[in-house]
């Protein structure tokens, strides 16, 4: 596998450019899948969603390892046993880590120079759940440059009539003062 095998390696692949593909220079076949799914969420996540609709966050405790699991789970993956009671947790938490994204889900660029605010997703450790139990959500209404790890945040909920039992019933998390 020396560089002197360059010619041999080059012959393995016909390298194209994007415009060769999108511009029809090579023959391609494209397909838009018409697929729809309805996912059953099981007892744990179904209750989680029902509580989100009420404006509350709920977890489930494992009495063996004494962890409050969030999102709730029907079994503890470490103790390998059914979990125990449901536990309401707070809608406040601490930023464990975050990023400042200039791209959307399909790597499309946001118009940052045009004033579009970058996405600031974060792992948020929720108060009342066990240490390290984070969830993915968005931080908003603050300059991305001011977001810090360890920052205290609180959920901003959609109005009750607009909630539908989804993680997006929380619109975003906003910074609050230090924990009392």
């Amino acid at each position: 596998m020396d560089i002197k095998h360059q010619k041999k390696i080059d012959k393995t692949v016909t390298s194209l450019r994007k415009k060769d593909v999108t511009g029809g220079k090579v023959v391609t076949e494209s397909w838009e899948p018409n697929l729809e799914y309805a996912w059953d969420n099981g007892p744990a996540i179904s209750r989680y969603l029902a509580e989100l609709k009420k404006g509350k966050l709920i977890g489930k405790r494992c009495n063996k390892c004494d962890r409050v699991l969030l999102p709730p789970r029907m079994f503890c993956e470490i103790c390998w046993r059914p979990t125990d009671e449901w536990v309401y947790v707070e809608d406040t938490g601490t930023v464990n880590t975050f990023c400042i994204s200039h791209v959307d889900w399909k790597a499309g660029r946001l118009n940052i120079k045009g004033g579009v605010r970058p996405f600031t997703p974060a792992v948020i450790e929720i108060d009342g759940a066990s240490k390290g139990m984070g969830i993915l959500h968005m931080i908003d209404k603050t300059n991305p440059k001011n977001i810090k790890m360890g920052m205290r945040v609180k959920a901003v909920w959609k109005p009750a009539e607009k909630r539908e039992g989804s993680i997006t019933d929380i619109e975003y998390f906003k910074p609050i003062g230090k924990k009392k």
Binding site: D2, I3, H5, K8, I9, R17, C99, K106, A107, I167
Partner: protein, 387 residues
């Protein structure tokens, strides 16, 4: 335990390209044919095939393992597919090792392929479906986010500076200049990395590996076959893999426990007590710059919080004490997901045989390691090889 010794006796690789006209099966054929030719073997001498290809969503072919099987020499043979995201390439080699070490088969072709260019407008969109469908997908996450989130945690925990981590890109893209398959070999500077487009802070464009099409193949053989086929077998002396929780937000992302678990299993099997002294050369998984360092710490090849200093001291350069990603890695050679992992195993094979040409590290390395990572920030796969 009663394992048989297993050697890598041949390897093949295609060019890695952003858009390849060849189909998944044709790419697999090119790599497989080259691997068989390299050890002067033919398909009649092959007992089974271990294939690897990662998310079907890239190729747009449901059950892509079947699509690549014939090109992988699988016609009317036992063919088994591996599928653990980015960990797939090294997992395919581990799986091939299991087939031969167990005594079930004497030879095994290991073939890994990925064709990401089929997904439009960008393959990144396909990653949406790996997140939890109910609790995460509604937030429209992209894989870049969780890498950036993890990098931030890694940097903050150890006090690492982004501009130091950028040196991984400089090193790997530079190494790739000497790899005949490379898609993105380049001579760049730390400033180039820092000035490249921000994707998701702290990740800039040059901190990220490209999307690629390509394939890699290895020929594995039991000892009695290997000794007949080649004078330079490279032994797979240790393998390990481990899977952590899919609840990626509930782990502390600063440290890859699952990589440590996988590495310890591989070291124990290979009789390695002090990995940082006994491993001469390593191909840690580097889809992002920080990931190489993150994994080196998990592999016990750098102390927790000490990898950046070793990087800055030149420890990981081609002529350093522990050359890492001498191939050029995913950042330089390219990242056709499953094939990229197996490319790392192939690189250790060529390096330990002294056949890496201009990429050859000095000092005749005798013991090397390849590692890949994948799924949802959760799988570690490790092989330890000796000349």
């Amino acid at each position: 335990m009663g394992y048989r010794k297993v050697a890598v006796v041949g390897a093949g690789i295609t060019k890695f390209a952003r858009y390849a006209q060849e189909t998944v099966s044709e790419l697999s054929y090119e790599a497989t044919k080259m691997a068989l030719d390299s050890c002067e073997m033919n398909l009649s001498q092959i007992d089974c095939v271990s294939v690897g290809t990662a998310p079907d969503a890239f190729d747009g072919i449901h059950m892509n393992g079947e699509a690549m099987a014939e090109g992988s020499g699988g016609w009317c043979k036992p063919v088994m597919r591996n599928y653990v995201g980015g960990g797939t390439g090294v997992m395919s080699a581990i799986h091939g090792w299991q087939h031969v070490a167990s005594g079930m088969f004497d030879t095994c072709l290991v073939v890994a392929e990925e064709k990401m260019s089929s997904a439009f407008p960008h393959p990144a969109g396909a990653f949406l479906t790996i997140f939890d469908h109910t609790t995460e997908q509604p937030l429209m996450p992209t894989l870049l986010w969780i890498f950036a989130i993890e990098m931030q945690r890694f940097m903050a925990t150890h006090g690492y500076d982004k501009k130091d981590i950028a040196r991984v890109a400089v090193k790997n893209k530079g190494n790739a200049l000497n790899h005949p398959s490379a898609q993105l070999g380049a001579e760049i500077t730390v400033e180039d990395v820092l000035n490249s487009e921000i994707m998701a802070y702290p990740v800039n464009r040059l901190d990220v590996s490209p999307t690629s099409d390509g394939a890699v193949a290895l020929v594995l053989a039991a000892e009695h076959v290997a000794r007949r086929v080649t004078e330079k077998p490279v032994w797979i002396d240790g393998v390990g893999h481990a899977l952590d929780s899919a609840y990626w937000c509930t782990r502390d992302l600063y440290y890859p426990d699952y990589v440590e678990v996988a590495a310890r299993k591989a070291y124990e099997m290979a009789g390695i007590k002090e990995p940082h002294k006994e491993i001469h050369i390593a191909e840690p998984y580097d889809p992002f710059t920080y990931k190489e360092l993150h994994h080196l710490e998990g592999l016990q090849l750098a102390p927790r919080g000490g990898s950046v200093k070793m990087l800055m001291d030149g420890h990981f350069d081609r002529d350093g004490n522990l050359p890492t990603c001498p191939s050029g890695g995913l950042l330089g050679v390219g990242n056709p997901i499953a094939a990229a992992g197996l490319m790392k195993v192939a690189e250790i094979f060529w390096q330990l045989r002294g056949e890496a040409g201009k990429r050859q590290v000095p000092g005749q390395p005798k013991c090397g390691l390849a590692q890949a990572w994948g799924d949802l920030m959760q799988v570690g796969t490790v092989v330890v090889m000796r000349a």
